[in-house]
Amino acid sequence: MAVEHDLETMEIPVNMGPQHPSTHGVFRMVLKVDGERVVELVPHIGYLHRGAEKLCENMDYRQGIGIHDRTEYLAPFHAELALVIAVEKLMGLEVPERAEQIRIIMAELNRITSHMMFVGAFSADAGVFGTAFTYAFREREYIQDIFEEVTGDRTMYGYFRPGGLAWDVPDDFVERVRAVLEHTRQGIDDIDNLLTKNEVFMARTRGIGAMSAEEAIDWGLSGPMLRACGVRHDLRKAQPYCIYDRFDFDVPVGQYGDVYDRYLVRLEEMRQSVRIVEQALEGLRDGPIMPKKMRRRLRTPPGEIYQGVEAPRGEYGVYIVSDGTDKPYRMKIRSACFANLMGLRDMVVGHFVADAVVILGSIDMVLGEVDR
């Protein structure tokens, strides 16, 4: 467009966050806007940095579980899973069948609660006055009731242990989960009906924040962000951990890599999680939940391991360097959102201020995990 600019205009910097309703925690980004259009974006993180890696290096593995819960605080089961699998592989522990099944049930239910949180917060970013948010939280609470009945806590579970589980599930576990899954299906459908085909929602999310597969790989994105770009990569399929190779589920893949695809991918992942949980409930048999011979104090043999799990937001990985004592010599936490956030600038620049909020919402970041 050849428009003569006689008026002198100015790009104004706008500081968003750390106290802004849609920066989901304590994220801060400094936007430079030309009218409503974003021309530059500088993300600032670190407001929630608690030194989780350093703390883990000063604690034994069981104590570290509590720290891992508090990094990825929307999907703590996945964080625990990464840690305990890494320790088990270092020590060469065999995990009993029942423990594996329960771990998968818990992890997949946790994926549902985490994606529910995404849908709720994302729709609020897109401007729905809390309706989808309450729908999502309703379902989240039902599932968290189960978590509370099993682990005793609604958010910081501390339930997995190297070798198995801390304790067994209650007797009516299977019936309770089945009952809640009914609710969950209903909840997913409610959200689907409310948002997916809504023209206003589509207008806001289609073609926004698009990323090509090459760019996504270059930035190191993972999880739904990567799959929305058309890369069919899911650790549960590519490098199965636990016993995921025994389950029958699909990996939804997007086409355009835009915000709408990310939403669709996550919505479908919730349905697939329901499928996995149902299969795991079928296969749940009585049995031990810990290996027979467990030392009271876990000492990992010297060595190193990187273990990633497919957490709701992408690959949550743990890199442990062990020196033969009962604490890790070095514990690095590979956080999914940390990598996903790196691409934020490329996604946002050129869009409107309102889109910046939606794109940020679509990353579904957890600052506890980004800053650690």
Binding site: D60, K89, P302, D323, D326, Y329
Partner: protein
């Protein structure tokens, strides 16, 4: 042994158990390392098998070449930089660890490069993967590594003026936990009572 000492000795993660070094097992035949040797016959590389991945140690001068080949060679095709971490081995130097993954071949490799603590310069991998950006910034502030060629090597998680010490180095122990119970509580209660009277 006094009870204080006993407590300290048996606190998990604080026992005097000997730190050991891992035995280095050479990687099995047909592993990723063979492909690396094929692709880079003239680069000196040392490899061993860790618990899961093959670890390849390279020198500082070769690391960018190795990483670029790993990414671009179709036999290797490591297009995803999964993770980049720093490790502090104290007097044995600092180490930068690259975890790579290939979507097509579905294999992993760990590349390591080591530098002495007095001269912590490592070439930046941002030229190979843009996604190395924040990882390197984090490693730089946490370990004092200097990634040469990085576009914007300023602290990421830590305050921007906190460049004098590096928290994840082993010479930076955790601060003492500020306890509020036990004798300290008794001491504080007196102080607190005094304070309340004043207030």
């Amino acid at each position: 042994m006094s009870s204080e000492e006993r407590l300290e000795k048996f606190r998990p993660g604080r026992d005097g158990h000997e730190a050991r070094k891992a035995l280095r097992v050479p990687p099995p035949r047909g592993s990723v390392f063979d492909l690396f040797k094929e692709a880079l016959p003239d680069v000196p590389m040392e490899a061993y098998q860790a618990v899961k991945d093959v670890v390849i140690e390279v020198s500082r001068g070769d690391v960018i070449r190795v990483l670029r080949t790993a990414k671009e060679d179709p036999r290797l095709d490591f297009r995803w930089l999964r993770c980049l971490s720093g490790v502090d081995y104290m007097d044995k130097g600092l180490e930068v660890v690259y975890h790579l993954h290939s979507y097509t071949r579905n294999h992993d490799v760990t590349v390591k490069v080591r530098c002495p603590q007095g001269d912590p310069r490592v070439p930046s991998a941002t030229a190979v993967w843009r996604g190395a950006d924040w990882y390197e910034r984090e490693a730089a502030e946490m370990f004092g590594l200097v990634f040469e060629g990085h576009p914007n090597l300023v602290p990421l998680l830590l305050p921007e003026d906190m460049t004098d010490h590096h928290p994840l180095r082993k010479d930076n122990p955790l601060a003492e936990i500020e306890e509020w119970q036990g004798d300290r509580l008794a001491g504080r209660a007196e102080e607190g009572a005094g304070g309340e009277e004043e207030g």
